[in-house]
């Protein structure tokens, strides 16, 4: 029996709950050489800014115990090029496309929302108020409820399709930020972005990363992500996309039981192109053996 694993994320309906996380999928072309885009319920493309960004100087990645520190710095070709070149190519697969947008001002967020409004192939926007690797904007919008409200509102005004706000864990009370995003009109929340971290090269006696600090991802942040999903999903009434170190179906099910409606995989794609296939199959067989006919029945089941 083929399970129905579809979920509704505030109007964005996806055929299975596994989404490619922004920043670990590029715009799909490279991934398609090794994996199958059709394995995903939805795909989130690389954080996109109004103008092209070259990103941060190397070294940009560094492995830590069960984790990955990165400081890419939002390298991307800019919204115009994404709309003209990448989205048309990616849309051939018929998988819902989520565009992660990052502005360094409220007016840039508005401008990005306007531009993507004219692009019918884009199913949802994910507002990035949580990138730790850029000097202006980025995480600054996601660490203050007022700023998060205004950034979300700036997009909401010009975007009528499903709107996701991606939250940072680098705050004292993530639920407070989550509520501000929902109040400003977010249909769905995604969490968590990376945790700010550092590593030192003891031979060179300096930071490993070219940009000094980076964002930590991978299995080592999973317990923090689970805790954040647990808190946020009980504090707001909109669906939550859980992410942070998901490598297996068991990891994904933990997130769902903590309150997520869907999950995203990032670092796992960098290690295993087949990860989404294995995770979807694993969730499906869990649901079959436990006679679960809809994932909504187990979303947040651990609260009780």
């Amino acid at each position: 029996m083929k399970m129905d694993l579809s979920v509704d994320l505030g109007g964005l309906v996806i055929k299975n709950p596994v989404i490619a996380a922004s920043g670990a999928f590029g715009y799909g072309r490279e991934y398609a050489r090794a994996g199958n885009i059709d394995w995903f319920g939805g795909v989130t493309v690389k954080g996109t800014t109004l103008r092209r960004r070259h990103g941060n100087p190397p070294i940009r990645v560094c492995e830590t115990p069960s984790g990955l520190l990165n400081s890419i710095g939002l390298e991307n070709p800019g919204a115009r090029d994404v709309i003209d070149d990448h989205i048309p190519w990616l849309s051939q697969f018929g998988i819902p496309i989520i565009v992660n947008i990052s502005g360094d001002s409220y007016s840039e967020f508005s401008e990005l929302a306007r531009m993507f409004s004219d692009c019918p192939e884009v199913s949802a926007l994910e507002v990035n108020v949580s990138c730790p690797n850029v000097d202006s904007g980025g995480m600054a919008f996601g660490t203050n409820p007022g700023a998060c409200y205004r950034a979300t509102k700036a997009v909401r005004r010009h975007w009528s399709r499903p709107l996701i706000v991606k939250l940072t864990p680098n705050v004292t009370d993530i639920s407070e930020i989550a509520k501000a995003a929902v109040e400003a009109g977010a249909d769905t929340l995604s969490l968590i972005n990376t945790l700010v971290g550092m590593a030192i090269d003891i031979h060179g006696k300096k930071p490993v990363l070219g940009n000094t600090k980076g964002g930590l991802s991978g299995p080592c942040i999973k317990p923090i992500a689970i805790r954040c999903v647990w808190e946020v999903s009980q504090a707001v009434s909109v669906p939550v996309i859980g992410m942070g170190g998901i490598f297996s179906a068991e990891d994904a099910l933990e997130f769902i039981m903590a309150g997520a409606s869907a999950v995203a995989v990032g670092t796992a794609l960098l290690v295993d192109p087949y990860a989404p296939k294995k995770i979807v199959e694993g969730i499906s067989s869990y649901c079959q053996s436990h006679e679960i006919d809809s994932l909504s029945r187990i979303s947040g089941i651990a609260w009780k």
Partner: protein, 276 residues
């Protein structure tokens, strides 16, 4: 960027040998990769199924045998991942993603009349395969090989047997010329520049540490001999997703190139080889 398929193969370990030069070499059965891989391409290897080490480890191919369905990788132990690889058992299966990167295609061999390959340290391993391929196509090939000392020099006799001219330099003089590989290169250019017709059709390829590549680039800058460099960088996915393994372009408007998909082989004039 090539649009060819990348395979994630459950490769069978056929052998792991400790070889000359304090290096290890493994022969892996990976038919899909062996059938289409090119010299100077690489593979990204899951050293063991675990979350630590988390990432795969990238290695240039040091040999390809399409008829046997095998590839080889050669490495020096530099950390946890490379240490674990020395413990691989014959017949165990490991996940190998590849072939990755641009590599050097057959057109290159049609253009080159003579090759000068410049190797530093473990950079010798991928150039070994390039030299072997060039000799199979009957291209006149000189290999200049620099290492710290005798105990770190890998076995170059097979290349000599294939008809390569091999010159070795060690920093302490324990084997070959005392000095750096650039000293060998200087000598080579001096000989060639006496007869300008000798530099026509010469193409050079270098692989080794960044300071060596920068010195080679500077040495060859006024000679008219095109230089390709094969780069290393801290890498995560190896197939173009994360944009982690970049090198700065010499043209500011280009920003950065990805070593994994735009490279690892670049025309030296396209990349900034100075340390960040």
């Amino acid at each position: 960027m090539s649009s060819l398929q990348i395979f994630d193969v459950e490769a069978r370990v056929l052998s792991v040998t400790k070889c000359q030069g304090n290096a290890y070499s493994a022969i892996l059965e990976a038919k899909e990769i062996a059938s289409c891989a090119k010299p100077m391409q690489f593979v990204n290897i899951m050293v063991r199924e675990s979350r630590d080490p988390l990432l795969r480890r990238p290695f240039s191919l040091s040999d390809i045998e399409p008829s046997k369905g095998t590839i080889a990788v050669t490495w020096a132990v530099v950390g946890k991942g490379t240490e674990l690889m020395t413990k691989w058992q014959s017949n165990q299966h490991i996940k190998v993603l590849g072939p990755l990167g641009n590599g050097i295609d057959s057109e290159f061999f049609h253009r080159a009349e003579k090759l000068i390959l410049i190797a530093g340290g473990t950079g010798f391993a991928p150039l070994f395969l390039l030299a072997k391929t060039a000799r199979q196509m009957n291209i006149d090939t000189t290999v200049l090989y620099g290492a710290k000392s005798l105990d770190l020099v890998m076995d170059s006799r097979p290349l000599q047997e294939m008809g390569c001219l091999v010159r070795i330099a060690t920093e302490d003089g324990s084997l070959g010329t005392k000095g750096l590989v650039t000293d060998l290169l200087e000598n080579e250019i001096d000989i060639a520049s006496d007869k300008p017709e000798d530099t026509a059709g010469v193409v050079s390829v270098a692989c080794g540490p960044l300071p060596m590549l920068a010195a080679v680039k500077s040495e060859l800058s006024d000679t008219g001999i095109p230089l390709y460099v094969s780069l290393e960088q801290r890498m995560a996915c190896g197939y173009g997703l994360c944009q982690g393994c970049v090198v700065k372009s010499t043209r500011p408007e280009e920003g950065y190139y990805r070593v994994c998909t735009d490279g690892p082989v670049f025309l030296a004039s396209d990349v900034d080889l100075e340390r960040e």
